[in-house]
């Protein structure tokens, strides 16, 4: 049993190594990882400084916009990190080679999820650290609730990423653009920068169906009132389990379907 686990971990590590080699082989790709989160943090940091003296909303908690933009990036980068590693295999037309090795689909998925964590941390750590000297704001001051928000948003990113990869497996590379765009359609109703009450009543129902909404509402509760809403965390986790289940099902069903259609050898640019 433990030997099987070792072999399985060996294959996950092999795939992880593949994506790390890729990341290392291209400095523009590594730079791109750091560039957007840092740029976003700079823009919203200056905006926060401006609003701090001109808006009662930001005055109540200086970091509310900065924390929101960084946590939004956890969701975005979490999804993109998974989808990009998946797309690397498609661009390289490598699925034919991979699936004649003993690599199981779930092991591949574990390596994609691990790579997503690495990409999120690599992308966000410089932005979060830079905010401390620039704006005297540390997102880490949120303490343990930050870990909970991070986990909720990362899991939602994975669910989305798996569903998008499933769609690409089914529809081919024509659906590649979804990897960059789908998450932004959820941004307005995730209430990243404003409370849910801002939305029209009918749209609030849709907002509360997203784990991200609970994370951002929970973040505001911590920053404004110092209260950690465990009910939000619990609901978000339950929703995430459902969405992850749906995302994983979409992925594995599409992979099986690709084997039936003979797409594993043909899939690529």
């Amino acid at each position: 049993m433990s030997c099987r686990l070792c072999s399985s971990w060996g294959r996950v590590w092999a795939m992880l190594l593949r994506y790390l080699y890729l990341l290392r082989s291209s400095w523009p790709r590594t730079l791109e990882l750091l560039y957007w989160p840092t740029l976003q943090m700079l823009i919203w940091g200056f905006m926060s400084q401006f609003l701090y003296v001109n808006s009662s909303y930001v005055f109540r908690a200086f970091g509310v916009l900065l924390a929101a933009v960084m946590l939004w990036d956890v969701l975005f980068r979490g999804q993109l990190g998974l989808s990009m590693s998946f797309l690397e295999e498609m661009w390289a037309r490598n699925l034919g080679h991979l699936f004649v090795t003993p690599l199981r689909p779930y092991e591949w998925v574990v390596s994609l999820l691990s790579m997503s964590i690495i990409r999120v941390v690599l992308g966000l750590a410089p932005a979060a650290l830079l905010a401390i000297p620039l704006y005297h704001y540390s997102i880490f001051s949120m303490g343990l609730p930050l870990v909970a928000f991070f986990a909720v948003l990362l899991m939602m990113g994975w669910a989305l990423g798996l569903a998008i990869c499933g769609l690409i497996l089914r529809q081919g590379m024509g659906a590649e653009g979804l990897a960059w765009t789908v998450v932004f359609t959820l941004s307005p109703i995730s209430c990243v920068y404003y409370p849910v009450s801002t939305l029209p009543h009918w749209l609030q129902h849709a907002a509360w169906a997203l784990p991200s909404t609970y994370a951002f509402e929970g973040m505001r509760a911590v920053l404004f009132s110092g209260i950690f809403r465990t009910d939000y965390l619990f609901t978000a986790l339950v929703l995430n389990v459902i969405y992850l289940g749906l995302g994983a099902t979409a992925f594995f069903v599409s992979l099986h379907d690709a084997r039936r259609r003979g797409a594993l050898l043909q899939m690529g640019e």
Binding site: R11, A14, S25, E88, A92, R93, N94, V100, P102, R259
Partner: protein
């Protein structure tokens, strides 16, 4: 007595628009080199893909090294491998990185030693640190072969192993494959439409046409049966016969 390396029964692969494989059955005994021979669209690559487990058949059974490939593919996959000039290794990784990753995927214990030894055998040592995308066709074929031999497979599946190679490199690859089979007792199943290659390497040939096996035997048996001087003439005879059949049907 050991089960055959490959045993295929009534294999069918049907797509919405065409039948790629139409009820074929064959077996390849252990330790031999066999070929699926046929023109474009005959069903060779489809058959190989099903044997590899990359493609699910519509009907039929496939046993590889004594295991049911549809039910227990993960028991067999560590014991086989595959190479095709049409499926490149990831271009941006170096040859060594690619081989290391595949060595890990196969769970090899002495990865670096195995890679060095294969690199020496296949004469790829000088470009181990070069990105796979920057190799010539001949170099790519040798690297693909190194990847395919990493786990010293009992069954090696090859799709057009010498396509797009110059005669000298092609001959070198054929010699290497022959020596590998002799040394390890492995079975090789290849899809090809290179007649001289098949004549030289294979002891069994399955002639495919429109998804069916229309004849089989050793190269010499086929040549004698059709009263020809070489396998290429046999191939042309069968292909033209098919064309006449198609025209008559129209």
């Amino acid at each position: 007595m050991a089960a055959p390396a490959v045993k295929v029964d009534n294999l069918v692969k049907r797509y919405p628009s065409a039948v790629a494989v139409d009820g074929i059955s064959f077996r390849v005994e252990r330790g031999v080199t066999a070929a699926l021979l046929g023109g474009n669209g005959a069903g060779k690559t489809t058959t190989l893909s099903i044997v590899l487990g990359l493609l699910l058949p519509t009907a039929g059974n496939v046993e590889v090294l004594g295991e049911d490939m549809l039910r227990h593919r993960y028991r067999v996959l560590p014991r086989l491998n595959f190479s095709s000039p049409f499926v490149d290794l990831p271009h941006r990784l170096t040859v060594r990185q690619n081989l290391l990753i595949y060595a890990r995927l196969y769970g090899l214990p002495s990865r670096r030693e195995r890679i060095e030894s294969l690199a020496a055998d296949l004469q790829i040592s000088p470009f181990l640190e070069r990105p796979a995308g920057k190799l010539s066709a001949g170099q790519k074929t040798r690297v693909a072969l190194a990847k395919a031999l990493l786990n010293e497979p009992e069954l090696l599946l090859l799709d057009e192993p010498t396509a797009s190679l110059d005669p000298d490199t092609g001959d070198w690859v054929r010699s290497y494959l022959e020596s590998y089979r002799t040394r390890t007792g492995a079975t090789i199943l290849m899809a090809s439409h290179n007649m001289s290659e098949v004549e030289r390497l294979c002891s069994e040939v399955m002639m495919m046409k429109a998804g069916r096996i229309v004849d089989c035997g050793s190269p010499q048996e086929l040549i004698n049966r059709y009263g020809r001087t070489n396998l290429e003439e046999v191939f042309l005879h069968i292909a033209r016969e098919h064309r006449i059949e198609l025209e008559a049907a129209k």
